[in-house]
């Protein structure tokens, strides 16, 4: 290579480097600018919380939407395998919505399509961000962090409705409709335990063939189980499981009684139940709700049951 060529390359090299530096600097300025002007949508920590204590947490014991002031709402959301609680969030258009998230089991991801709401929902962390939906409509929410074998089915919704529609729905909610145990099971339990109640061997234990045994051993145990959840290694019909049964205390007493009554007879011979079995009642659930147990205490309790 001759000297002149060499010098020419060196000259262009200096220009290229200057241009690269300038480009990086431009990006830095743009990032800082957008952060300063749209900072509210960036996820931040709002404290920490042990997933085992969610049933007694101020934010997460009763997750859902509540009004904070005129045109301002709080939405508290729990991620758990493989659903969001609540799975559908309804908010009015144009309102300031303050989201709070945590997870009951493993890491999930909450992304609302067509928005910048996109965060890791990490057990132990309480995440917050605020957002205002300017367009009414139904927004798809996908779990975008791998959380187990049915991760792809963990899909929720945000419904953004007009203020009048929002008010109408709230008053409709106040008058409870009749509860159907089968539909409660289908929308809350079937993703893990499957619609036929047989579960997935090694991952999610069966309800069919197993629940009557639990009822025979201790009638109150299934009630405690749905209210408090269970965590740790268990064995059912010789197959080991080490997952987690979430707590379902956010469901109403009526819903929990209905789903238990559905599940004890849906797949099993009524003969499998104790001869004096009477259906669960909402009052029974309400009474049990007064004395919450930790997931770990539940595991100990299960160990004491006399199972076949």
């Amino acid at each position: 290579m001759d000297h002149a060529t060499h010098e020419r390359i060196a000259k262009w090299e200096r220009r290229w480097l200057a241009a690269s530096g300038l480009m990086s600097l431009t990006f830095v300025i743009l990032i800082a600018y957008t952060l300063a002007t749209e900072g509210g949508e960036i996820v931040q920590a709002a404290g920490r919380t042990d997933p085992a204590t969610l049933t007694t947490s101020a934010l997460f014991a009763q997750p859902g939407v509540r009004a904070l002031g005129p045109n301002e709402y709080q939405v508290s959301l729990i991620g758990q395998a493989f659903t969001w609680v609540p799975n559908t969030v309804v908010v009015p258009v144009g309102a300031l919505v303050r989201f709070y998230f945590t997870s009951r089991d493993v890491i999930h991801g909450y992304q609302v399509e067509r928005t910048s709401i996109n965060l890791e929902v990490i057990p132990g962390e309480v995440a917050t961000l605020h957002y205002t939906f300017d367009e009414p409509g139904t927004y798809r929410v996908s779990c975008n962090q791998y959380c187990g074998s049915l991760h792809h089915e963990m899909v929720g919704w945000v419904e953004v409705v007009s203020a009048t529609e929002f008010a109408r729905r709230q008053s409709a909610q106040a008058a409870p409709a009749a509860v159907d145990g089968e539909s409660v099971f289908a929308s809350n339990c079937a993703s893990c335990h499957q619609a036929n109640g047989e579960g997935i061997a090694g991952a999610f234990p069966p309800v069919a063939g197993h629940l009557p045994d639990l009822v025979r051993a201790d009638r109150a145990y299934p009630v405690k189980l749905v209210l408090n959840g269970l965590q740790g290694a268990i064995t059912v019909d010789g197959v080991g499981y080490n997952g987690q049964m979430p707590a379902w205390s956010h469901l109403s007493d009526d819903e929990l009684a209905a789903v238990l009554n559905y599940a004890v007879t849906a797949w099993d011979d009524p003969e499998a139940l104790p001869a004096d079995f009477v259906p669960y009642t909402a009052d029974e659930i309400a009474a049990e709700r007064q004395t919450p147990s930790s997931a770990a205490e539940m595991l100990a309790l299960r160990g004491e049951l006399e199972l076949p």
Binding site: F27, I42, Q111, Q145, E153
Partner: protein, 563 residues
């Protein structure tokens, strides 16, 4: 003022020498390519999944789930293939450049440690005990053998790092006052970066995950573990990339008939990677609640500086090739491009790899931009991005290297130069299409690593707005399957093919390098110990405040198995 720092080897001397080094190097790169073969054969099924076609349950009945296959794909391709292949690159070329023999028993033991790790982790995944994907975020809990296996792969590769630094030291003792030759310099800096970078994952796996999965400790804090993972998780991408850069800097100018236009700028680029590739990991965690926004911003800004050495590389390599094209008679602004050796599969594969990296790099800048990342975080955009970087820039470069390197190591003739060329183009076209489809789907918020072709009835059609890019992704899967078959036909055809005459064994295409900066600067850059300390200091500054507060305030959670 050409400096002949790089020795040229003659083919006659080549054939019978360096037997031990060639054998161990061949073991490293062929084991890596074997892992890639299995991992890459699963890839098309993932691409078809993102085209809405579920062949997992029908064609791959030995796998329990999509996620088990995805775990195999990720672990084998980005953790095993790269680490093994890199060990071959980073050990062999310095030894040859310096003319210093390897400590062969030590290098073979590093290979044995890595192989033992691969077998342990592989068995754990195949047995469906560790379907936790290659990021293995707790509290999803795999088998202890999975974590131990991965740890052994890292330990083995760090033994390789020790050996590379020993080669350099041995040479410097024999050549006092001289500057480290270029390929050894690049390899040493890469290994120093790797030593600094692995601290995070070693602490995560050895202090937390192994004792936790074995039942010795009851819990792990998920946010802390994620942070330790991404401490290593970003620089690891440079560990994948830099061996490809070594081939681009050291061999491509020669293969193009030119010379490396700047020795000192090459060193500067690598030194910048040592400084800036680690204190940037929070840019993978913009969506994590547990990291203060101010520190995320610091990491975002530092990431912008890692773009600069890649811009340097783009200039230097392009200029070095242009020198070759003009020597071959090319004229005009772009006329030299036609004169480049496009019929040489080794050259063409690597230039296509560079071209893909333009898009990979630009996407990387977007991902690292704090506010833009929120639109694409954990969508298919992300795998779209890293299939252009590690999946094409690195992998296609490695393919290109093997077209001369495997014949060099094994004394076997390249099976078919034409098929090799076809495999490179097909891989390139397939991956560019895959990249387009996946980036595009990401803009519709289609989640990454999700078995979306197997949705229950009530969720059918929820991603229908992304139908066009989904179609492109499915097509790319078929093209890539063809590319995999072609490439491995060439590889196996070479390994079991015709023996080469001694005189025909290809030599290592070390390029001549040109000095632009004053030698004082180069000598200052050669003080690697001091630069390493400075880099470690920068990492401590960027990480310690956050890590200390995480370590002192842990919520330890038990492991769960949800598959």
């Amino acid at each position: 003022m050409t400096v002949g720092t790089i020795p040229t080897t003659t083919t006659v001397a080549e054939a019978g020498t360096w037997r031990g080094e060639k054998a161990v190097t061949a073991a490293f790169i062929l084991t890596g390519l074997g892992a890639l073969l299995i991992g890459a054969l699963l890839g098309p099924f993932q691409a078809l999944n993102y085209g809405g076609i579920n062949l997992y349950d029908d064609v791959l009945p030995f796998l329990r789930s999509y996620y088990q296959g995805l775990t195999l794909h990720g672990v084998l391709n980005v953790l095993v293939f790269t680490t093994f292949f890199n060990a071959g690159v980073l050990l062999y070329f310095p030894a040859r450049e310096l003319n210093v023999r390897m400590n062969l028993p030590f290098v073979w033991s590093s290979y044995a440690v890595m192989l033992a790790g691969l077998l342990m982790a592989g068995t754990a995944i195949v047995a469906n005990t560790s379907t936790v994907l290659y990021t293995f975020y707790p509290p999803l809990s795999g088998h202890w053998a999975f974590y131990t296996g991965l740890a052994l792969v890292v330990v083995g590769s760090l033994m390789g790092a020790v050996e590379v630094l020993r080669l350099r030291t041995a040479w410097r003792r024999a050549n006092p006052g001289k500057v480290t030759p270029l390929v050894t310099y690049m390899s040493s800096v890469t290994m120093l970066m790797w030593m600094l970078a692995t601290v995070g994952i070693v602490v995560e796996v050895v202090v937390f995950l192994i004792p936790w999965s074995a039942g010795w400790i009851s819990g792990v804090d998920p946010q802390l573990a994620r942070t330790l993972f991404w401490y290593t998780g970003h620089p690891i991408v440079y560990f994948w990339l830099l061996p490809a850069y070594i081939s681009w800097y050291a061999f491509i100018p020669k293969q193009a008939g030119g010379e490396l236009v700047s020795d000192s700028l090459t060193r500067l680029a690598f030194l910048m990677f040592l400084m800036f590739s680690t204190p940037v990991g929070f840019h993978h965690q913009f969506a994590d609640p547990g990291i203060p926004v101010a520190w995320k911003l610091v990491h975002s800004l530092l990431t912008m500086f890692v773009g600069i050495p890649s811009m340097i590389t783009a200039f230097t390599i392009a200029a070095s090739m242009e020198v070759g094209g003009r020597r071959a008679g090319g004229t005009g602004v772009l006329g030299w491009i036609r004169k480049l050796p496009w019929r040489n599969p080794s050259f063409t594969a690597q230039v296509l790899a560079m071209f893909s990296f333009i898009f990979g790099g630009a996407g990387g800048i977007i991902n690292a931009s704090f506010t833009l990342d929120l639109l694409v975080h954990n969508t298919t955009w992300i795998p779209g991005h890293f299939h252009l970087t590690v999946g094409t820039a690195t992998t296609l470069t490695f393919f290109g290297m093997t077209f001369w390197w495997v014949p060099h190591l094994t004394k076997r003739a390249l099976y078919s130069s034409r098929l090799a060329l076809w495999s490179a183009w097909t891989w390139f076209v397939g991956m560019m299409l895959f990249g387009l489809g996946m980036h595009w789907q990401g803009l519709y918020a289609v989640p990454r690593r999700a078995h979306i072709s197997n949705l229950p009835e009530q969720l059918q059609g929820i991603y229908a707005d992304a139908a066009v890019p989904q179609f492109l992704t499915a097509v790319s899967g078929i093209i890539l399957l063809a590319a995999v078959i072609m490439y491995f036909t060439v590889l196996f055809g070479t390994l079991f093919g015709k023996r080469l005459e001694d005189a025909d064994v290809p030599a290592i295409p070390f390029s001549e390098a040109r000095e632009i900066r004053a030698s004082g600067v180069v000598q200052m850059m050669d003080r690697l110990g001091a630069w390493f300390v400075l880099a470690a200091f920068l990492v401590a500054l960027a990480y310690l405040p956050t890590l200390i507060s995480m370590f002192t305030n842990q919520i330890a959670l038990p492991g769960l198995r949800l598959w």
